[in-house]
C-alpha cells in the first residue's frame, strides 16, 4: 500500500504490469550461468587451503595433470603480478592466492577436466606444501598487542602508514563537543554491541563459462551484478586490456551486494586459454559460504546522551568492522550511516580490521545494519527510560532537508519524518500489543548512489520499442525501465521489450549496486526516450510538411493543430521514407541519488522455555520517492526485511578454533524460510527525489537496516532483556533470559 500522496500522477509509472522476464523465470526457461553448456566444454574445480593462514611452500601439479580427462591446471604463478597499491590487488589475490593462503578455503590452484568429477579428483591430487602461520580470527585478536599479521600486504587506509598492520582503515569524524553534550544530558546510556559474520544467501551459487579463442580474446557468460565490472576486474587480474574480453550477462539468482565482486572468471579464462576449450565453473554451496564474502563481524561501543524531554544531545561511538582477509571501507561506511538524527555533538571512530577469514563483501546497505543495531537500540532504551513513545522520540530528533549527515554534508530532500509518521499512523502501530508479546520499532537509512549508466532505445518498424541497458536485472529493473519508457513515449508497456545487453552491445554501465539501477539507468532510458521524441516530432513534421515547431508530442502521438495525430506506428512505418530507423542513445554519470529511510515495527513473543522468538506481525514503511512498479518496491521492502530478520534471529558464521567454518551448508546456516515468517506488510512512502525525472529513490537496500534493532527492541519489550549480541537465536536468548549471557 502507498500512504503518502505523491502530487504527480502518471499513466504507466506506478502501475503493476507482469514483469517481462516473469514467465521465463517461473517456468524454468530463464538461463542462469550454470544452465549454459557449450560444445567441448570442460569443468573447472578449485584447490582450496585447509589452513586459515599458511605460507605456500610449493605446489606440485604433475600428478593432477597426468590424471584422466585433465586439460589444464593454473596456480598463482599464471596470474598478473599486480602491485599491492593497484585498486584490484585484493580482489585478484582473493581469487588465487600468491605466496600465502589467507583463510580457510582460499583458492591456491584450479584444474579443468572433461567432467566435473574428473576435475574434482584432479584438484584433490594437486600437492601443496604449506607452512602453517598463526591465524587471526576475530576483531579482538586482530587488535591485540603483539597480534600476528593476518595479511602482510595490508596497509592501513587513510593513515599514511607503510608498515603491515591488522588495521584495514582508521577514520574519525564528527562535530560539536561530545563532552559538552554529555554534560547537557539528563540521561546517558552506553553499551557494547557484537555481531557476527553473515552471508548474503543468494540462491544461485557463483557460476560462469569462459571461452578463450585463438585470437587471444575471451567471451565470458557470467551471473553478476555488473558485467562491465566482470570485464574490468578480469582484465586487471589477468593483466589484459578490456578489448580482449566480452562479457555476456546471464540471469542472476540473487546478489544483494555479494556479486559486485568476482571469484571465478579470470580463473576460467586462464584454464580455457591453456586448454583451448570452453571452461565452466560452478561453485558448490559450501564453497559459496566458505569462500565468498560475508558481511563483516562487528564490535561497536556506543554512548548516547539526552535531556529529560527527549532531545538527544550527543552520540559517541567506536566501531570495529572485520573486513576478513583484506582491507576495505566497511567500518567507515558503517559510521557514515549514522545519519538519521540531529546530533549537535557527534564523535565516531571507525576502525576496520583484517583477519584470516573470508574476504568480506558488500551486503545490502553495507555496514548500516550493524551500526543501526547499536544506535537504534540505545534510542529505544532512551524512550523507555524517559517514558516516551519510541516513534515520538525519533520524530523529535529526526533529520530533515538541510540537516547534517554524519560526514557533515547536508541532507538533500528526504522523507524520514514522513516514513516515521506512516508507521505511527499505521493500523498495526495503533492496534493493541497482543497479550504476552512485545512491540519494537527500528529505523534505517541508506545513501543510495548514482554512477554511470547507458541506454539505447530503438523503435521498431511496427511501432514497438526495444529498451537496451547494461544493468543486470536483480530486482525487477526490466519492468521499471519499460514503465519509464512507456510513460515517456506514450506506448503501452507490453509493446516495449527491455533487454540487458553484453559489454560490446551497449555503453558502459556501472555495477547494479547502491540501489542505483532504476534511478541512474532509468534516467538514461528517460533521456534516450526524450531524444527519440525529438526525432519522432521531426519525422512527423516531414510527413505532414510542417515546421517541427508546430508539432507537439501528446500521449504517444505527434499532434499538429488542424490535422489528425500521427501515432508511433504510423511514424515508424514511414521511417525508411523520412530518414531511416529511429534510435537514440543516452549515457550519464548520475548525481543526486536520493537517500532512503525505512521504519519497521514488529510484534514478537518469546518462548521463555526454549528461547525461540516468533514474529506475530511485521510492518515495514520505506520512502521510495516514486514507486515505478509498486509490486517490486514492495518486494524489495519485504526481501530486505526478511534478510534482516534472519541476520537478527538465526544467521551466523560459526568457526572452529582453526578458522574452519563449521556450518557451511543451508542445513546448518539457518536462513529464514516462509514458514518462519508472518506476512511482511509493506508501506510505500513517496517523497519524490527532485533530482530524478520521476522522483525515484533507490529502494533495494534500506529495508535490511531496521530489522535487527526492531526485533531486539521487540524482544526487550517482551522479555525485559536487552540483547546486545547477534544472533538472538534460541540458545543465546535463553541464556540471556536466564541471566547467564548476552544482554
Amino acid at each position: 500500500m502507498t500512504v503518502t500522496e505523491n502530487p504527480r500522477r502518471y499513466k504507466y509509472v506506478g502501475t503493476r504490469p507482469v514483469r517481462h522476464d516473469g514467465l521465463d523465470k517461473v517456468t524454468g526457461k530463464a538461463r542462469f550461468a550454470a544452465d549454459l553448456d557449450m560444445t567441448g566444454q570442460l569443468r573447472g574445480a578449485f584447490v582450496r587451503s585447509p589452513h586459515a593462514h599458511a605460507r605456500i611452500v610449493s605446489i606440485d601439479t604433475s600428478r593432477a595433470e597426468a590424471m584422466p580427462g585433465v586439460k589444464a591446471v593454473v596456480t598463482g604463478d599464471d596470474f598478473a603480478d599486480l602491485d599491492p597499491t593497484h585498486p584490484e590487488f585484493d580482489m585478484a589475490v582473493n581469487l588465487m592466492a600468491r605466496g600465502e593462503a589467507l583463510y580457510n578455503g582460499h583458492v591456491v590452484a584450479a584444474v579443468a577436466a572433461v567432467t566435473a568429477s574428473q576435475a574434482a579428483a584432479a584438484a584433490a591430487a594437486v600437492e601443496v606444501e604449506y607452512e602453517p602461520l598463526p591465524a587471526v580470527l576475530t576483531i579482538d585478536e586482530a587488535i591485540a598487542v603483539s597480534a600476528p599479521i593476518a595479511n602482510p600486504t595490508n596497509r592501513t587506509l587513510f593513515s599514511g602508514d607503510t608498515e603491515p598492520s591488522n588495521l584495514a582503515s582508521v577514520n574519525e569524524f564528527g562535530r560539536g563537543d561530545v563532552e559538552a553534550g554529555f554534560e547537557a544530558a539528563d540521561i546517558i546510556l552506553e553499551r557494547e554491541f557484537r555481531t557476527v559474520a553473515v552471508h548474503q544467501g543468494y540462491i544461485e551459487p557463483h557460476a560462469c563459462v569462459a571461452d578463450c579463442g585463438q585470437d587471444g580474446k575471451a567471451t565470458i557468460w557470467a551471473s553478476s551484478q555488473g558485467h562491465f565490472a566482470v570485464r574490468s576486474k578480469t582484465a586487471a587480474a589477468l593483466g589484459w586490456s578490456t578489448d580482449r574480453i566480452k562479457v555476456i550477462p546471464a540471469e542472476i539468482g540473487g546478489g544483494f551486494g555479494g556479486k559486485t565482486t568476482i571469484y571465478l572468471e579470470p580463473v576460467a579464462v586462464l584454464l580455457s586459454q591453456k586448454a583451448a576449450r570452453p571452461v565452466k565453473i560452478v561453485m558448490s554451496r559450501e564453497e559459496v559460504l566458505r569462500a565468498t564474502g560475508p558481511a563483516p563481524a562487528t564490535k561497536i561501543t556506543a554512548k548516547i546522551g539526552a535531556t529529560n524531554d527527549g532531545e538527544i544531545t550527543t552520540l559517541q561511538s567506536t566501531m570495529y568492522f572485520d573486513n576478513g582477509s583484506t582491507k576495505g571501507f566497511s567500518a567507515l561506511t558503517g559510521a557514515m550511516s549514522v545519519a538519521s538524527y540531529k546530533l549537535p555533538n557527534l564523535q565516531l571512530h571507525a576502525i576496520g580490521t583484517v583477519s584470516n577469514t573470508a574476504r568480506s563483501a558488500a551486503y545490502r546497505a553495507p555496514s548500516a545494519p550493524q551500526a543501526a543495531f547499536a544506535v537504534e537500540t540505545l534510542i529505544d532504551e532512551l524512550a523507555q527510560r524517559l517514558n516516551m513513545d519510541p516513534i515520538d522520540i525519533r520524530l523529535q530528533n529526526a533529520v530533515v532537508e538541510g540537516d547534517a549527515t554524519a560526514m557533515g554534508a547536508p541532507h538533500p530532500k528526504i522523507g524520514f519524518v514522513e516514513t516515521l509518521e506512516a508507521i505511527k499512523n499505521s493500523e498495526h502501530y495503533n492496534s493493541p500489543v497482543p497479550e504476552g508479546a512485545g512491540r519494537g520499532v527500528g529505523t534505517g537509512f541508506w545513501f543510495n548512489i548514482g554512477e554511470q549508466s547507458s541506454a539505447t532505445v530503438n523503435l521498431n518498424e511496427d511501432g514497438t520499442a526495444t529498451v537496451i541497458t547494461g544493468s543486470p536485472d536483480i530486482g525487477g529493473s526490466r519492468a521499471s525501465m519499460a514503465l519509464m519508457a512507456a510513460e515517456e513515449l506514450g506506448l503501452a508497456v507490453d509493446r516495449i521489450t527491455p533487454i540487458i545487453a553484453d559489454t560490446e552491445s551497449v555503453g558502459f554501465t556501472d555495477i547494479t549496486e547502491g540501489s542505483r539501477a532504476t534511478f541512474a539507468t532509468g534516467m538514461a532510458v528517460v533521456n534516450a526516450c526524450r531524444e527519440l521524441i525529438g526525432q519522432l516530432k521531426q519525422r512527423a513534421a516531414t510527413i505532414k510538411n510542417v515546421d517541427v515547431e508546430q508539432v507537439e508530442w501528446v500521449d504517444g502521438a505527434a499532434v499538429i493543430e488542424g490535422q489528425d495525430p500521427l501515432t508511433i506506428p504510423e511514424i515508424t512505418a514511414m521511417a525508411k521514407n523520412t530518414g531511416g530507423p529511429l534510435t537514440a542513445t543516452a549515457s550519464l554519470n548520475a548525481a543526486g541519488a536520493g537517500p532512503s529511510f525505512a521504519v519497521h515495527v514488529a510484534d514478537v513473543v518469546v518462548d521463555e522455555e526454549t528461547g525461540e522468538t516468533t514474529i506475530l506481525r511485521y510492518t515495514a514503511a520505506q520512502d521510495a520517492g516514486t514507486a515505478i512498479h509498486p509490486s517490486y518496491v514492495e518486494g524489495q521492502i519485504q526481501g530486505g526485511s526478511v534478510q534482516g530478520i534472519g541476520w537478527a534471529l538465526n544467521e551466523e558464521y560459526i568457526y572452529d578454533s582453526d578458522g574452519v567454518m563449521e556450518n557451511a551448508s543451508f542445513l546448518d546456516y539457518r536462513m529464514p524460510v516462509a514458514s518462519d515468517l508472518p506476512m511482511i506488510d509493506a508501506i510505500i512512502v513517496e517523497v519524490p527525489n527532485p533530482s530524478h525525472p520521476y522522483g525515484v529513490r533507490g529502494v533495494g537496500e534500506t529495508g535490511i537496516v531496521p530489522p535487527i534493532p526492531t526485533l531486539a527492541n521487540a524482544i526487550a519489550a517482551a522479555t525485559g532483556v536487552r540483547m546486545t549480541s547477534l544472533p538472538m537465536s534460541p540458545p543465546r536468548l535463553l541464556a540471556a533470559i536466564s541471566g547467564n549471557a548476552g544482554s
Binding site: 587513510f158 582508521v170 543526486g592
Partner: protein, 81 residues
C-alpha cells in the same frame, strides 16, 4: 573560490583545519590548490573521496563548477550492495 569541508583523515595535512576557503572555479581546481598548499592531500581527494556539493553527492565531480557560495564536502567513497 569555495568553502571546502575536510574529513578528519585529511586534516593531518592541514594542521587540523576543518574548513577552508579555497581558490578555484571547479572541484578539480580546488584539489590542485589544496595539493599546492598541503602536499600529499590532493591524491586523497581525487582517488579516495567522493564529493558532495551543496548537499548533492556528485560522482567523479572534478569538473563541477563552484563559486563563492558553494559548500564542497569531500566525503568517503560510497558504493553499496
Amino acid at each position: 573560490m569555495a568553502t571546502v569541508h575536510l574529513q578528519a583523515d585529511h586534516r593531518r595535512f592541514t594542521g587540523g583545519e576543518k574548513v577552508l576557503q579555497v581558490q578555484g572555479d571547479t572541484v578539480g581546481e580546488l584539489i590542485q590548490e589544496l595539493e599546492r598548499r598541503y602536499p600529499g592531500l590532493g591524491p586523497l581527494l581525487t582517488d579516495g573521496a567522493s564529493v558532495a556539493i551543496n548537499g548533492e553527492l556528485i560522482p567523479n565531480g572534478i569538473f563541477e563548477k563552484v563559486d563563492e557560495s558553494t559548500e564542497v564536502y569531500f566525503v568517503a567513497p560510497i558504493s553499496g550492495g
